[in-house]
Amino acid sequence: MRSPFDILEIPESSSDAQIKSAYLNMIHQYPPDRYPEIFKEIKGAYEKVSTRRNRVSHRLFHVHEPDVNELLYIALKTKKKRISENTLLKLISDTVVERLKGYENK
């Protein structure tokens, strides 16, 4: 579900030069020898939006697959703020209780 712009972390109104610069930054951060999958994703995204012609083609004909795992990935990566004190304490105590429910079993 992430658009090529999301992957390259740039706004949709970016120029060819801005897109290229973002692409170069990203591949510097994720070189193909260390992050082959991420690199592939970045390269694919760049190819889709590197020129105006590609951008229009992508916009017209690209069909996103409704991928639930992609949504999950986005949700897990989105940091809004820090957890609240109450939520943290509740999560910890709930975890203790949940673990004790299967205590003897473990």
Partner: protein
Amino acid sequence: MARKKHKKAKKRLKYKSRESVSPDKMPVDVLAQKAMEYLNENKFRDAISHFKILLKREDNSEWRDCLFEAYKKRSDELLKKGMTKDVLVILDHIESTFTLERDPVFFIKALIAAGETKKAIQAFFSFNNDRYKESLKELESILAPLLLSLDDETLLSDSGVTKEIDNNNPLIVYRDIVSDAIKAVTDGRDDACESLIRKIPFKSPYRDYRLFLKGLISYYNNNIAEASISFKKLPQSSALKALVDNAVMIINDNSEHTRMLQFSSIPHADITYIMALNGHDIKLIKDFLIFLKAISKGNNKYSLSLFKRVFSIIDIDIMKRFAVALLVNDISLKNAYHSVFGPISSFEENRIMALQYECKYKFGEANNYWQKCISTSDDSSFEDEDERKLAIAFLYRRIASNLGKMERDYDEFWYDDDDDDYDDITEHLELSLKYDPYHIETYNRLINLNKEMKDKKETIKWTEKLLEKFPDDIPALLEASSMAYERRAFKKAIDYLDHILEFDPINREARDKKIDIHITKARKHIKEKKFHLSRKEFAAAVTLERVGERNGSVRIKWGLMEILAGETEKGKEMIKEGIESAGSSLSALFLINIEAKRMGISQLLYKEYTTELEKYLKSKVERDGVLELLKIAIPYVDIDYVGKNIDKKTTIEYLKRAIKCSFNEADILTICLYLDKVKEYKQLKEFANKGMTLYRESNMFLYYYIWGKYKGALFNLSPSDSKRIASAIEDSKKRGDLKTAGMLISLLEKLLPNMRIPFSGAMPKFEKIFQHIFGDVLDDEDDDHFDPFGEIDEDDDSSNNRDDSSSKSRRQKKDIPYTGRLF
């Protein structure tokens, strides 16, 4: 409810039938044996009731132990089922039958698990004296988070708890420090948190919080690696580890594993932990999980109704894209989409419809919607007019592309006029150029389409148009040169090539083409006996390639020309130089023999070369020799030379002896190509068979095999061979080997000359076509699972010569007219 009652009644009945005698009336020894059996069989409920009866009759320490054991195990069983109220009842029973001091650790844990936190804390402090100190130690790390989760008021104002609390217990002493540290980290006061962490002693029940809080600080400062190190050091038994261990592994920024996450394989608890750590509200996380579950179950309508609830978790633009993706799969969700995102523009709606039809391979319907997209393009939100025009050009090209993919009904394969489709396609491509005149691929497509249609005028027109827009486009210049050459406009052809060589002086193809043109011109002059002009052309050709095989070839031809012109000595000298440059004597000698015949030179003048060639060919047969001969021979076949001279005989004789040589796949294909061109079907079949045996995966050999077997006359093609071809076409397409698929299709086209089978896109239904041609013969002859290589004939020439009376009678039986050729 009724079902539950019925179940209970059934159970009672079962119990009664199992024990004809009531436990109350059983003798003690039988009852004790029964009770033990139930305990061992994990039937704790029955065990408890039996031991209770036994203990009423007689106080026995062994039975008491067993009863306590049965109670413990029954409470575990109930906890796992989440029946916490029933656990509390059991704990009451234990309290009334035994003192709780029998096993305080169990009792406190059971209370916590049953949700009775305050009672558990109270019990802990009431037991926390010297007698139980050691056994209760393990409970400290469990109680620590619970104490933190209770606010001061709940903890201290509750009379029951306060009364028992020992203020000197480390659980109480360090509680405030840990509590403050947690508050500091959640508030973003990392420095304060760090100084508070230092105050938590290593031996306190809160020691795990030191690592946990350190890890959290790193995590929130995007230092995932550091966070991971801290969290990994947490002991396995710690509840804190369960909370963060998987979480950090999953969200590790630099982990490729993260990209491969599968919703179905991650525990929902872990998703909750991560999202909660990232500041999402727990209730929203629960909604989000419901939403993901609905989508993964394919309940799209329901999931669309949940979209609004998850907007605060995932950006609205992403959710919109996701919704559009759902719409492409199911347009009936349109209203649900409207209710969430508002109305969509006509352009967007048409676009989605077109994409939806394309997904279903309904290209005709898709094109209707693409056409509508063009007419509603004003309605869309393109950045500017240029972008809109570009989009229209894309849409016309898409329509043209879909036209080539459209599936036809069976009957539509039978028509004589191929032009309609091409006209439609070219019309749309031409329209696209109005909006995007600098799209080189479209010009190339138009050129190729017109070439396929053998429309030279249009091919030239589009090549010239392409060169107007892209004057330095090498493929276009080469194409233009070839076309000029074809119509014998040599000067123009050379001009195009010279233009290439101006900016790309070492362009191989341009140089080769230029040499070809000079040689052609030289031949023309030789025919007219204008040897002086011919010399000029040869001289020009030689300067283009000063060394090597190509130079040798030009010199040999030049030398032969000189012999023809009466300059025998000079000619032989040039031939000698040519042989040296060519590098291979065999190919040079072969070339001399072919060219001399072609120029009509008296055999006496080049006899020495013929003798030498024959000697060479008779002496040994080897792979390299075969390939060298074919390299020279194949281009001559194309200029209709073979068949009129001995050189075909020479090559064929040589190839006959070469059948046992070791060839690779490409070699055999080259040989087959040559044998096909010179119509040597018997040998073609033999080499193709060799290829099929050695390279079973290459369907190209089947093409040559069939072609050789039927000696290029396919009207006698048997049903089994037709099916074999069809099967190989499908196989080649699956492998992406479109060239082979195309060649095999051409076999069927030769069989059925009025039928045009589209090369790309949807294939016709062969079964249906064959059924029409052969009737039910196919069912009689072939298995359902057809092996394209299952019927390799070792020596089957009968197929082409056989009397086709059997097929005739079959046709008569099916009342299909036979006209000598099918249809």
